[in-house]
Symmetry: C3
Subunit: 139 residues, 3 copies
């Protein structure tokens, strides 16, 4: 059993930008030389989240609309009042989507479904360069 | 340290069907021969999610009602307009519940609470046969 | 590769009490003697959840308000009608936040962001003593 850690960097536009990072995660698994195990996809940021989706423009648009209706960007947030930030909504969205995703791989391939992609969603209110920690455990 | 991967198949009714898969996950852990480690429960589908709940009819009904109020099945979704599907809401529900759950086990037993069961929720709009990847890492 | 399991106990006030458990998780990783790997933070309870947040009073207050608006404590729940409990809302909140979080560590340090802390949220309606399972896998 071995542990392999890789950093991925992703340029985002913020504001609910949904980025498909499936290929990069698959490449990290392939390059690890491991055959079977798990990859943990972790964003070390408090205004980003990770999950999976059928990555096509319709689902992406629906997700962005839902998130804005659920946790509106334009209302009062205690975080904003305290710090003069405008991203109180971004923090809530990130906490509820979650910063971590664990995906098994078998024979060097992620066990994702055909219509299922790994996404990073950047909820912050400006373009950012994001770090994603990819850590493979396996044999 | 060893990796053991097993597939579980679950017949669902779709439409927020909540299935208790605790026994099947516990059986896979027991059969792996591993004593201590984690099991990753992963659904390779874009209209299913996994989590835990106190699996009793009241909580299940409350969850189904909440999900329908939060992300209604009957409204316009860009996914539906684009593909002629009727399951745009299913995709959003799955992305937000998440496809992956990691549970530690000790002495061959899942560390679940007494009133805590592992559930698969099928958000799709018709009965489906679902695959669940169970991957144990441990010693 | 080794597996190390530790229990953490947390005193909470219930009612959306948000507890920062970052230091305790970091201490468990340090004491494990492992250099690289993952820690799974798992709550064996059906009315608690775990995630990350920028742990400052504003974000905490915003999270508590959102959760109360989204899943109100004062409405009818089938769980309450069935069992005479008053915590039907607590169960739903826990299922949707999720009981499990996986965080990579490198050189004995959690790969958290500077403004990102690990939180346990207790959704139950009274003070509780909670158990958190911390399990490290790594080398």
């Amino acid at each position: 059993m071995t542990v392999v850690t890789r950093d991925l960097h992703v340029e985002t536009q913020g504001n609910n930008h949904v980025v498909d990072i499936t290929e990069a995660v698959q490449a990290a698994v392939a390059q690890s030389g491991l055959h079977h195990g798990i990859v943990t996809v972790f964003v070390p940021h408090s205004t980003c989240g990770v999950s999976t989706i059928e990555y096509e423009p319709g689902c992406v648009k629906d997700l962005q609309r839902l998130v804005e209706e659920w946790i509106p960007s334009h209302r009062d947030y205690a975080h904003n009042l305290r710090w003069g930030d405008g991203n109180g909504h971004s923090h809530l969205r990130a906490t509820l989507l979650g910063p971590s995703l664990t995906v098994p791989f078998v024979d060097g391939r992620l066990t994702l479904g055909t219509w299922q992609q790994i996404i990073l969603v950047d909820f912050d209110i400006r373009p950012r360069r994001r770090r994603v920690v990819l850590q493979m455990l396996g044999e």
